[in-house]
């Protein structure tokens, strides 16, 4: 058991754990994508912008109006839910039954709109968001194992787990959840048994807005609230490619893989090629993966009939 105690191994575990915990947060963003994709077949590129918008709104309310987090967060929840509803109403409803690429491009437009709106409302300077959780190593772990793991990451991971659990409950135990799943399985069938499709879509967008807020709070307090937050959402793309667009477990597993692999790659591969590979490594990984398994880890294989 000496090997486990060697510095190299400890370092590896530290990196891996940090990666996995980041991955959990990726998964959280990816979850927003999956929710919307499952229910309405829209690949919502604007999820990242929604994360940014949420974080900026909380920070802005806090900074400009001096509202405490306890007040700013509920207001933002309302704003995000409204944003989700409006998006569904104004952007996606008129595009129903369009080609998926068209929907995708519409969400790119939405991304720009939301980003512009966020900065127009709150300005474009970098802000901090203090959730009261220190981003310091978890002392107990250092004492006992010598592995450095951020306390913040751990708590964030915990919150993510809670959220996933809550969503799972929502999906599996409630009436809305059952309707949602029915819609996800087959739009036509859901319609024919009388499930109000657009109602369900509105709810999904609202929930996605809420998920974006949670992600925005966590990422914002970790990295500061700034435009770069939107790039976090881009990281969710490889996560989705790995996990499959329609799978909640896929989003989680994919997030963990991407989080871990990009950190490991950066630490162990980066120095040889000049560093900064975190930016593209997940994509190339996902790309290579796609070539082997185009439908993702948990996605369903599509048989095309002619």
């Amino acid at each position: 058991m000496d090997i486990l105690n060697s510095d190299a191994v400890k370092y590896f575990i530290t990196v891996l754990a940090a990666g996995l915990l980041t991955g959990v947060m990726y998964a959280l963003v990816a979850l927003g994508f999956v929710l919307i994709y499952k229910a309405s077949g829209v690949f919502n590129f604007a999820q990242g912008a929604m994360v940014f918008f949420a974080a900026l709104t909380v920070a802005g309310l806090n900074e400009k109006f001096g509202l405490s987090l306890w007040l700013a967060v509920p207001i933002t929840i309302v704003v995000m839910v409204a944003l989700g509803f409006l998006t569904e109403r104004i952007v996606l409803r008129p595009l129903v039954n369009q080609h998926e690429i068209t929907l995708f491009m519409a969400t790119i437009g939405l991304t720009f709109f939301i980003e512009g709106l966020a900065q127009l409302l709150w300005g474009s300077n970098v802000r901090t968001l203090d959730l009261g959780i220190q981003d310091v190593p978890f002392q107990w772990l250092i004492d006992n194992t010598g592995i450095l793991i951020s306390q913040f990451d751990l708590i964030a991971a915990g919150i993510c787990a809670l959220l996933v659990g809550a969503l799972a409950l929502l999906f599996n135990k409630t009436k809305i959840g059952r309707a949602l799943r029915a819609v996800a399985d087959d739009h036509q069938a859901a319609l024919s048994v009388g499930i109000p499709l657009q109602h369900v879509w509105g709810i999904v967008w609202a929930v996605a807005g809420f998920v974006a807020l949670v992600a925005g709070l966590l990422w914002g307090s970790r990295n500061g609230v700034q435009f770069a937050l939107t790039f976090v959402a881009l990281k969710a793309l490889p996560v989705l490619i790995l996990g499959g667009f329609t799978s909640v477990p896929g989003a989680i597993v994919g997030g963990l893989i991407i989080g871990a692999s990009e950190k490991l790659a950066e630490v162990y591969l980066g120095p040889y090629v000049g560093g900064g590979i975190e930016g593209w490594f997940p994509y190339v990984l996902a790309l290579l993966f796609l070539l082997v398994r185009p439908e993702g880890l948990f996605g369903e294989k599509i048989i095309r009939r002619i």
């Binding site: 595009l95 790119i108 709106l117 474009s124 593209w280 994509y283 790309l287």
Partner: protein, 352 residues
């Protein structure tokens, strides 16, 4: 209304398949070319050349490139800027490292390098489609820019990562003034637009559209899907590569890899959407629109007395809203509006 087509009949397939079958269109295009090549250089100011006309033409070329891939071949790409970057840095290195390299050849070689990278990153398109492909083209975007930033050889060991484009000289004539550069870009863009038009009206263009519209049927009638898609990637990337080189040589002058970022890719995608998916003319309309819009916005903002910082955010919002608007109301963009208008004029005063 202005169209008088009675009596324009075709006695050969050649005249029937010409680019502008209607005589009035031919005259209009000829007039436009005369204006662009002769009148504009005589009267336009340096500001108009460098702030409007040159970027408009270069973006048109890049949009044309993306339109070939997305509009004609149906493969969505978010990595346009990366191909532009490859074209620019490859041209730079050809100029730098090959003594006596003619600049036009360097542009072509830059385009070819971009085409090769395009083929490489187009390979996934054989197995994946739709936004899976779009997501994977993001890999190109990030990887290429990272490569150019991290490998000092590409930027000739420039410490800041910034390169300065060499002097453009063709047959001893130095292209220095904005006017010179405008004419050079205009010439290249016209020739390449013509080539693109020829491609889309020939078998290669039909193969792209066939794969776009119904790939199984395309395969059954004998198109090779792989060859078709990769040709589209290659041609598209070539166009983007040349546009990227012109962006560096005739517009920015000094340039860093980050200039070819994701934002530029999106901007060109917007030009395609607003201009018209699957339309050569649309590429020009879209580019014109998106080049002029911020200028118009800043004028408006200036007159309304709002702070200047508003402009850039307003620009984002207007772009976003316009994209959504066009996708909902007129998915084929300005080109379709133009076409509808033209049809109306042809049928005037009848509605149909």
């Amino acid at each position: 209304m202005i169209y008088r087509e009675a009596g324009q009949y075709k006695t050969s397939y050649l005249s029937d398949s010409q680019i502008f079958p209607i005589a009035q269109d031919r005259y209009a295009v000829a007039a436009l070319l005369v204006i662009a090549f002769i009148a504009v250089p005589l009267f336009a100011s340096a500001y108009i050349f460098s702030a409007i006309l040159i970027p408009f033409l270069i973006f048109s070329l890049a949009t044309l490139g993306l339109n070939i891939l997305t509009g004609y071949a149906g493969q969505l790409s978010l990595g346009t800027a990366a191909f532009m970057a490859v074209g620019a840095f490859a041209s730079y290195n050809f100029m730098l490292r090959v003594p006596g390299m003619p600049v036009l050849l360097a542009f072509v070689l830059g385009g070819i390098c971009a085409a090769l990278v395009g083929i490489l990153f187009g390979l996934p398109s054989l197995r994946i489609r739709g936004f899976y492909l779009a997501a994977s083209t993001l890999a190109t975007q990030f990887f290429v820019v990272w490569c150019l930033t991290k490998v000092p050889w590409f930027t000739n060991n420039s410490s800041s990562g910034v390169i300065t484009a060499q002097q453009v000289e063709i047959l001893g004539y130095k292209f220095e003034t904005p006017q010179d550069k405008y004419l050079l870009v205009l010439g290249i863009v016209c020739v390449m637009a013509l080539l693109a038009k020829n491609m889309v009206r020939s078998t290669v263009g039909r193969s792209w559209m066939a794969v776009r519209d119904m790939d199984v049927a395309a395969e059954v009638i004998g198109f090779r899907i792989m060859k078709t898609k990769l040709t589209a990637f290659a041609v598209s990337s070539f166009y983007c590569g040349v546009a990227g080189a012109l962006y560096a040589y005739c517009y920015l002058g000094t340039v860093e890899p980050e200039a070819y970022n994701l934002d530029l890719s999106f901007r060109i995608l917007f030009m395609v959407i607003i201009g018209g998916v699957g339309s050569i003319l649309g590429s020009f309309l879209g580019a014109g629109f998106i080049v002029l819009l911020p200028i118009a916005l800043s004028i408006i903002v200036h007159y309304t007395g709002l702070p200047n910082s508003v402009t850039s955010n307003l620009e984002l919002m207007v772009f976003g809203a316009l994209i959504i608007f066009f996708l909902i109301v007129e998915p084929h963009g300005l080109a379709r509006l133009w076409q509808i208008g033209k049809e109306k004029l042809r049928l005037w005063p009848f509605p149909h």
